[in-house]
């Protein structure tokens, strides 16, 4: 019989807080982490249609990391190190007592080391001095730099993987962690999501794609408004989250505190369009259904959905449609929240940060508000979406994440009962 898999440690670094306790306090307060950004470093924002983002302000890596760790990797991987350090401490996982090859790291990252990437590309094309390309450029932009450095920081010698499926990356990282442990490949997986690419080129790219909100430059905290009638695109965010995932047998043996159980996972492709979901919602409904099937439960058992809900016009409506298709009458009874209403869309980190929120909802019985859900779009109206905290005993919860490239993921969580 496949082993049960539990979540025993959490770490997060997000625009509304560094560390789980600050993050969760802000989330329950419905506090927005979105601010105006006058510039990206020295790069002026005046030419951009969108000028708001969910940034982590005043982050000094040295406060959390050794100089060598901080120097060696890009911002997104620094975030991954910070959230992982917290999660391992939270899990009280002492690596000295673990068999190192039984502890793995799976990171979801969508963009990777774009801070250095953009800087070096700009320099090279401007100066045409190839010998001035930084020696650490390749190891930094290689997309597995975060999974590598996290393993090095903790001596985790098991499976070391990076999943890059754009905005669903770290939901898959968590799902693959579940698979890895169930298959017996590892006892513990440090599952991470990280991205930090609020950089001139990436930001411009999302602007050009007309994906970002541009109507709320003067009221940044109102810009990310999933399911609301006035929503006009997502807001870029940055951050990371880590979940320590382990077999129940392993957790029990070391008397670990368990937050929640992971019980199901769906990975699908719509095989449809690079950036647009199938508008009838069938594919997303099917993805969630596959997730429920893998957990061995029916739609009537779900209490909470941490929605992908990015605040784009099409995306939120399609996800709502999918919820109605799959859950029918129960759709109105399920509590739904959009973590992106608070922190924006953290791309590859979104799944993991949403997973931390989901885990805490199960653990605490509180569901954080969906900020700015003021005038429900008729196409997105569901009773379970609220601007207030919802108190709810959550037995089963879903985490949705959808990525460019026609990629969908659903992860199923359960309240843990030994």
């Amino acid at each position: 019989m496949a082993s049960r898999v539990v979540i025993t440690g959490l770490g997060v670094i997000a625009p509304i807080g560094i560390g789980v306790s600050e993050f969760w306090k802000s989330a329950l307060a419905g506090r927005s982490g979105i601010t105006a950004i006058p510039s990206l470093g020295w790069f002026p924002m005046s030419g951009y249609r969108s000028r708001v983002a969910g940034q982590i302000h005043n982050f000094s890596p040295e406060q959390y990391l050794t100089t060598m760790q901080a120097n060696r990797v890009d911002r997104y991987a620094q975030f991954a190190l910070v959230s992982s350090k917290e999660a391992l401490a939270d899990a009280d996982l002492n690596m000295a007592k673990e068999a190192p090859h039984r502890v793995g790291v799976i990171v979801g990252a969508g963009m990777g080391g774009m801070v250095m990437g953009e800087r070096e590309i700009t320099q090279l094309f401007k100066t045409q001095r190839p010998h001035r390309v930084h020696p650490n450029f390749i190891p930094t932009i290689t997309l597995n730099s975060a999974s590598g450095i996290v393993a090095m920081a903790h001596g985790a010698k098991g499976p070391n993987l990076t999943i890059s499926t754009a905005c669903s990356s770290s939901a898959h990282a968590l799902g693959q962690a579940l698979q890895s442990i169930r298959s017996g490949q590892a006892d513990v997986i440090i599952a991470v999501g990280a991205d930090a690419s609020i950089t001139p080129l990436v930001f411009a790219g999302f602007c050009s794609l007309r994906a970002l909100s541009s109507e709320f430059n003067d009221a940044p905290e109102r810009a990310s408004r999933p399911f609301d009638r006035l929503r006009d695109g997502f807001v870029m965010g940055e951050g990371a989250a880590t979940l320590v995932v382990e077999s129940w047998a392993h957790a029990k043996k070391r008397k670990a505190r368990v937050y929640a159980e992971l019980v199901g996972y769906a990975a699908t492709s719509e095989a449809y369009h690079m950036v647009i979901p199938q508008e009838d919602g069938q594919e997303i409904a099917t993805t969630m259904k596959i997730g429920l099937d893998s957990a061995g439960i029916g739609p009537d058992q779900v209490d909470y959905i941490n929605a992908h809900a990015t605040s784009t016009t099409i995306g939120d409506a399609v996800e709502t449609k999918a919820v109605k298709i799959l859950f029918k009458n129960r759709a109105e009874k399920i509590a739904i929240s959009a973590t992106k209403s608070l922190i924006g869309h953290t791309l590859g980190a979104a799944g993991a940060i949403g997973a931390v929120a989901t885990t805490l909802s199960i653990h605490t019985g509180q569901i954080h508000p969906t900020a700015n859900y003021e005038d429900p779009d008729p196409a997105c109206r569901l009773d379970g979406i609220s601007r207030a905290v919802q108190e709810r005993k959550v037995r089963y919860a879903l985490l949705n994440a959808f990525g460019f490239g026609s990629n969908n993921a659903t992860v199923v969580f359960k309240k843990f009962v030994a």
């Binding site: 040295e62 001035r132 650490n136």
Partner: protein, 154 residues
């Protein structure tokens, strides 16, 4: 040609190291071995040299890397390269540069091996630094012979 290493050159190198390592420049001396004393791994050394190339407007050929193991040898090497670039007006073709660098590198490597052991105790640091100066001197002569190459391909 100078016999001693210009303190300004050493200071600049120590400055680069200090900012890379985020530590007090006063805690770094010429005798420090980049790997054994300052904890730089091979990639970190390459990053440091990358920084030094920028600060001194130099290009350091791959062949010269093995000799650059202590703060002192780096300083001596940089000083020599700066001196060369002053005495030579015209950049030469890259081939002879490589050849000359190789000979320099061989010398420097030898110096390093004698030094690595002496670096460890603070009391021998002065001696080690002096040795490195001498090494740079002798190397200078040899490179003076092989002469004409400056890497000024910028």
């Amino acid at each position: 040609m100078t016999e001693r290493i210009d303190p300004a050159v050493t200071a600049k190198i120590i400055q680069a190291l200090a900012s890379y390592l985020k530590r007090d420049p006063a805690s770094i001396t010429e005798a420090h071995h980049l790997r054994d004393d300052l904890g730089l791994d091979s990639v970190a050394i390459i990053e440091l040299l990358f920084e030094i190339e920028e600060r001194f407007k130099l290009q350091i050929p791959d062949q010269d890397l093995p000799g650059l193991s202590t703060v002192g040898t780096v300083a001596a090497y940089v000083q020599q390269r700066l001196a060369e670039s002053k005495t030579e007006s015209k950049p030469a073709s890259p081939k002879p540069v490589a050849a000359a660098s190789k000979s320099k590198a061989a010398k420097l490597t030898k110096t390093k091996s004698t030094k690595t052991t002496s670096d460890k105790s603070p009391s021998t640091k002065k001696a080690a630094a002096a040795k490195s100066v001498m090494a740079s001197k002798s190397k200078k002569i040899s490179s003076g012979k092989s002469g004409k190459k400056k890497v000024t391909a910028r």
